[in-house]
Structures are given as C-alpha cells and as structure tokens.
Amino acid sequence: MSGVRVLVGTRKGAFVLTADGKRKRWEVAGPHFAGWEIYHLKGSPVDPDRVYASQSSGWFGQVIQRSCDGGKTWETPGGGMTKTPGGTPAGESNKFVYDASPATGKPLTTHQWYDGTQHPWEFKRVWHLEPSLIDPDSVYAGVEDAALFRTSDGGKTWQELAGLRGHGTGPKWQPGAGGMCLHTILLDPSDPKRMFIAISAAGAFRTDDGGKTWRPINRGLRSQYIPDQSAEVGHCVHRIALHRSRPTVLYMQKHWDVMRSDDAGESWREVSGNLPTDFGFVIDVHAHEPDTIYVVPIKSDSEHYPPEGKLRVYRSRTGGNEWEALTQGLPQRDCYVNVLRDAMAVDSLDSCGVYFGTTGGQVYLSADAGDSWEPIVRDLPAVLSVEVQTLP
C-alpha cells in the first residue's frame, strides 16, 4: 500500500510524520536537529529517500543536512569527521557566497535598505530548498538576503545563479518585515529551462534559460505600501503555486491580494473574490484538480492570526474568486495561530490530502481534499514548513 511522509520544519527542530495510504495512524519521529530552526525540508522527486534540510541558528549560522534514508539519519554533505589532516573534506556545504565576479556581468553589492539607503548583500539563511525534478544531486536554494543558489553535487558545494540579482532591478529590492528572502522556487515540469521564484519584498521573477537570465513578472500587482503601486518590483509576494499539469497558470498569495496568472506570470489579475480577508501567506493547488486551490486567510499585516479567532481554510474550485470556508475539525473559537508561507502541502493519493502547520505547533490533515480536518500532531514547536511525499 502506498503511504505518505510529512516533513515538518519548526523553530526547534525537524519532525518526520509517516502513515500508510489510509492516513489514519501516524508515527512521529524527531526532533531532528533539536533546538535549531529548520526553515525547510524537501525530498527529491527522483529519489524520495533523498531529503535535504535547511538548519540554521542565530548563534551558529547555516547548516545543510542531507538524508539518504527518508529522514532517519542525516549528514552534512562533505563534512564528515577526519582523523588526519590529509584529505580533509572541504566542509563547504553551508558556504553560500554571493557571486561577485566580473564574468557574471553585473555583480551586485547593495540593495535597498529599510530607510531607502543602499545596503550590502549579507547571507543570513536558506529559506527554501527545491530539489531538481530530474537529478537527486541537484537542488536549488532560496536564501536571505535574496539570491538563488544551486548545488549539483548533493549539497557539498553551492554556486549562485547570479543572473537573478544581476538582471538590473536588484538595487531596488528591499527587505520585508521578515527579511529579504527568496522563499519560493517553482520548477516547470514541462520546460526544464523555465523556473519561477518569489522574493519578499521584490516580487516574482522568471527565467526561461535555466537561470542565466531573469526578468520581473509583476504586471497587474498593486501594492499600497510602495510609492508606485504598480511598480515593476517591490511587491511583497508571499507564495506562488502551480499545478504540474498546467504550469502556465500561477496562483499567488501576495501580502494582500490573492492573484492568478494564466500566462506564466506575464500578467496577473486578482481572484480574492469573497474571501473574508485577502491577507495570508500560504497558497496551494489540489493534486488532481488544477482549478482547486487553497488559502488560509489571516486578519491583516499587523494581526497575524485568523479573523474572528476561527481557523478556516478557504477552497476555490474555480481557480479563484468563488471561495468556500472549510471548518470541519478546525478550531472555530479562540484560535490565534498563523500559517506561514511554506507550511501547506498536498499529497497525490487518489483522495487528495491537504496538510498545513501552524505557529501553535499543530499539523492538520484533510484526507478528503479539505472537507474535514484533524490534527496529526498538536504540540510541536512553531511550524515553519510542511512538505509531503507520496510514497509508492
């Protein structure tokens, strides 16, 4: 029987939740990397037992972890202990150095700071890891301060795809309240050279040549917190999602506004419709229905919890505009958690499972595409990310 493995990153470690295809009985393993912030874990679509994790700390910086057995055991790629000086491993799996070489064309050294002045790019952490669709040793990493890196040796070394920062708008990017992070990486399953990324607070960008060149794809976005509300960059995009069968249709949860593009980001239109608030962080797509999407409305940018203390997932079966509240099994009073941008995922079992984690430490599952919910776990540390692997 098939099964699922849920990879949960939290403020104080990583957890691996597993169940068979019925999704009724769960085993909880962890915390792995106890006490560290785990912004994201994700498995390779090619080799599901290959899992990568971003481990970070305000004291000790960034560490990259890799598992080859589905999260049971972990190693720092290329960082094993050596007893003799000869043949010392490089230990560079956590070395993210911005490309400053003239060969890349336009190396950048500054971006816009909160006060409008220019500020040097400074690496802080890896927010998101996106394994390649075809090679388990290749992974993209979205980092803060915003940039895109890639490894092709299983995480031992990382190189920046400098064309993103260098395409011209980089000096206009600025940090949001959570820092200037590259948090979303979408690989187009129909075109290996096309990729979408999103940055807070710069916006969405696309490459059609495997990451060499990039351009902003923010036409149609309007943001009241920037002087030119329709500017080319400066939008605080929180999350983008696509369905693998229709990768030219993109869905976006922006700081405010839920948006949709039908032309691979060339233009966007608002599909917030009847949502009680269109602020939020997560957005995801049903595994089998490209027009069925999910968001979790959050009250406002200054009050990061559900409106009225009711935790509600909203589902649209029409690709936006018409939304229904999904409440069965979710707390409908006194609930003041948040659901962060990487904390929702879907499995691809016949009855699509939808999962999300909260800053209150709950991970909820709906095994019927959102109609009803139940917690898998209730008391983890604040959840930063949720990913799901559907296992054969």
């Binding site: 305000g58 004291w59 910086g61 094993g80 007893k83 010392t88 230990g91 956590n94």
Partner: protein
C-alpha cells in the same frame, strides 16, 4: 594536547561528547585552535567563524582562564595553561532570551 569545550549544539553537530582534544601545530592561538578543530570536524566550518571573513560569529565568545578572550587578536598566543592542556579553551554561545 589542547582541550576545547564546545557549546552543546556544536557537539551534537560534530558528533562528539564532552571535551574535544586537539593536537595543534605551532603556536597555540585562537586561529590555530579553530583551524585544527575545523580540519578534524569539517562540519563545523562556518558555524564558529564566518566562511569568508573568518570573523567570530557575533553571538559566540571565546573564554579561557576565567577571561573573555573574544576581542583578543586571533593570532595572539593563548595562556600557557591552555597550551599545556591544564585549562580548556571554551567556545561559548551568548545568553539570549529571558
């Protein structure tokens, strides 16, 4: 042999328990201790000092002989009792939180 005490999170990362003992070649300084440590435990590179600048991470301190040596030059000789192994060299995480 130099005796080194790491904070718990770094001991876990390096898969060690208790003190680390290191054979440091040449003069014993902050830099030579950290280079010997990172050579033996490459997974610690970048966690105590920045990969590029080699600067101590802001929330880490270096103590020995009841003194804070964090702001001493990295190539300054350490006290003889550290060199002899009579006293350990501490890498300490700054207290934060309430």
């Amino acid at each position: 042999m130099i005796r080194l005490v790491l904070p718990p999170h770094l001991r876990t990362l390096a898969h060690v328990h208790g003190e680390v003992t290191l054979d440091v070649q040449g003069q014993v300084t902050q830099r030579s201790i950290l280079e010997a440590l990172e050579a033996r435990y490459p997974m610690l590179r970048g966690t105590i000092r920045d990969h590029v600048t080699q600067q101590r991470r802001p929330f880490l301190r270096f103590f020995a002989c009841d003194r804070d040596l964090s702001h001493e030059p990295p190539d300054a000789p350490l006290p003889d009792v550290v060199t002899s192994g009579a006293e350990p060299f501490f890498v300490v995480g700054a207290i934060a939180g309430g």
